[in-house]
């Protein structure tokens, strides 16, 4: 991990529907780091990572990406193209086949030729184990398969960081493993990842660092071994108690 952070959040605040969700978040994410975000529902985990690609525009605070301040203006689309995102509900384009889901943004946003985009898409589908389903439509796939396609779709933009927003929460338990395997592979290759998750085992095994979000602030942070095995605060102890 290099010294200069890839992402730097300073004093991030966000109010949604009259409720202050984020109450001043400062956070650095290093290049190649796998940062897991845990916390009870409503603690602001999703809002936090949605602020990074401005799906939620922060009310206060700044976001620097690769040393450059991100602004919600014309340059935003370019910023978003460098930040991959995977959603809880997959959000695959339902009218497009699997391979078309992967080639749309690279051709329209990055200007790749259809041939180049197709080549890239096929390599990624192979990697997530779905090379044989390129002509299927999202509704024909299982949840686990859809989520693997969604990861491949984000990777097709060759992003510098990947955001995972509770990507296994909508899956049947037996399908969770196949998605986590793909994410582990990405982590091994050195992808910078922000992972909002309830999968404590994943956080312990794959995460480099864990932050515990509680009431819109970072209540605890540190190495997974420390945060998950030796929690300091009562709230984190109680929260982790639900998973044992």
């Amino acid at each position: 991990m290099s010294a200069a952070p890839l992402i730097r959040l300073k004093g991030l605040r966000k109010t949604l529907g009259g409720k202050e969700i984020l109450k001043g978040i400062d956070l650095d994410v290093a290049k190649g780091e796998v940062l897991c975000v845990i916390g009870p529902s409503g603690s602001g985990k999703s809002t936090l990572i949605r602020c990074i690609n401005f799906l939620e525009v922060p009310d206060q605070g700044t976001i620097e990406f690769d040393g450059v301040l991100v602004r919600p203006d014309g340059s935003l689309d370019r910023h978003r193209s460098r930040v991959g995102m995977v959603f809880q509900r997959f959000n695959l384009f339902s009218h497009l086949s699997v391979v078309e889901n992967l080639t749309l943004a690279p051709t329209k946003v990055l200007g790749l030729s259809p041939g180049q985009a197709l080549q890239r898409a096929r390599a990624l589908l192979d990697r997530v184990g779905l090379a044989d389903r390129e002509n299927a439509y999202p509704a024909e796939l299982s949840g686990g398969q859809q989520q693997r396609v969604a990861i491949a779709r984000a990777l097709a933009m060759q992003p510098q960081v990947m955001l995972f927003d509770e990507v296994t929460s909508a899956l049947d338990p037996e399908l969770v493993g196949e998605v986590l395997e793909v994410m582990k592979g990405l982590a091994r290759e050195g992808m910078t990842m922000l992972v909002v998750t309830h999968q404590m085992k994943f956080a312990r095994e794959v995460g480099h660092r864990v932050i515990f979000l509680e009431g819109g602030v970072i209540a605890e942070e540190g190495k997974p071994g420390d945060v998950l095995e030796r929690p300091k605060g009562a709230r984190l102890k109680e929260f982790l108690g639900h998973f044992s």
Partner: protein
């Protein structure tokens, strides 16, 4: 039954009705899409202008709109341009149906899962790109049955164009009645002609719907 008067006048009457329907529907869909997009725009004045257009047009009978355009506006601009009855009627139908079709498009956009546009924007697609490549194709599939209904309704409404002397089916029905004095026979034939036009149209829309249906999804939209 003497077929000669019918054979002389019906083919061109059917053609005119069909042509009027197709041209008016094309205007209505293009304009309806534009107004529908304005209805869901992030720019407030645009949203309000579109809403006002829709409310005003829907509050005035189509029959009056046809007269207003042909006789009213036609009189006003007579020194610059004298529109043919066909152009005037097409404009009236198109402008009116655009209001209804705009509402269908609006509902189509609003019924889409928010996640679809978020996913598109998260990949770096601009708003227009997300609209063109993700939202519009999905909305269009969803509203196709409703658009088909508008097409059938429009075909029947073209009978109102007889008031501005277009020789479409209804106008020709009146002419035939005056010529051969067999009102029951004539109007039965005219009614059957409308039926012969609307049924294939409904059928064609259903075929198109089936073709655009996304595999793996149910056919209800």
């Amino acid at each position: 039954m003497d077929l000669k008067p019918y054979l002389e006048s019906l083919p061109s009457a059917i053609a005119n009705t069909a042509l009027l329907t197709v041209c008016s529907l094309a205007v209505g869909i293009v304009l309806g899409l534009v107004i529908g997009l304005a209805r869901v725009s992030s720019i407030k004045p645009l949203r309000m202008a579109a809403a006002v257009y829709v409310e005003v047009v829907r509050a005035i009978p189509l029959f009056v709109q046809i007269l207003y355009l042909y006789y009213g506006i036609g009189y006003l601009i007579r020194k610059i341009y004298i529109p043919s009855p066909f152009v005037s009627a097409t404009a009236a139908f198109g402008l009116c149906y655009a209001a209804y079709i705009a509402e269908i498009f609006r509902a189509g956009f609003q019924s889409l899962d928010r996640g679809q546009s978020e996913a598109a924007r998260a990949l770096g697609l601009t708003r227009p790109q997300a609209m063109r490549w993700v939202l519009l194709p999905q909305a269009f599939r969803n509203i196709l049955p409703a658009l088909g209904n508008e097409g059938v309704a429009l075909l029947k409404d073209t009978s109102l164009a007889s008031v501005v002397t277009i020789t479409e089916l209804t106008q020709v029905g009146g002419q035939l009645t005056n010529r051969i004095y067999k009102p029951f026979e004539v109007w039965t034939v005219i009614a059957l002609c409308y039926l012969a036009l609307t049924l294939p149209l409904s059928w064609a829309v259903r075929k198109l719907e089936a073709r655009l249906r996304v595999r793996g999804t149910s056919h209800t939209a």
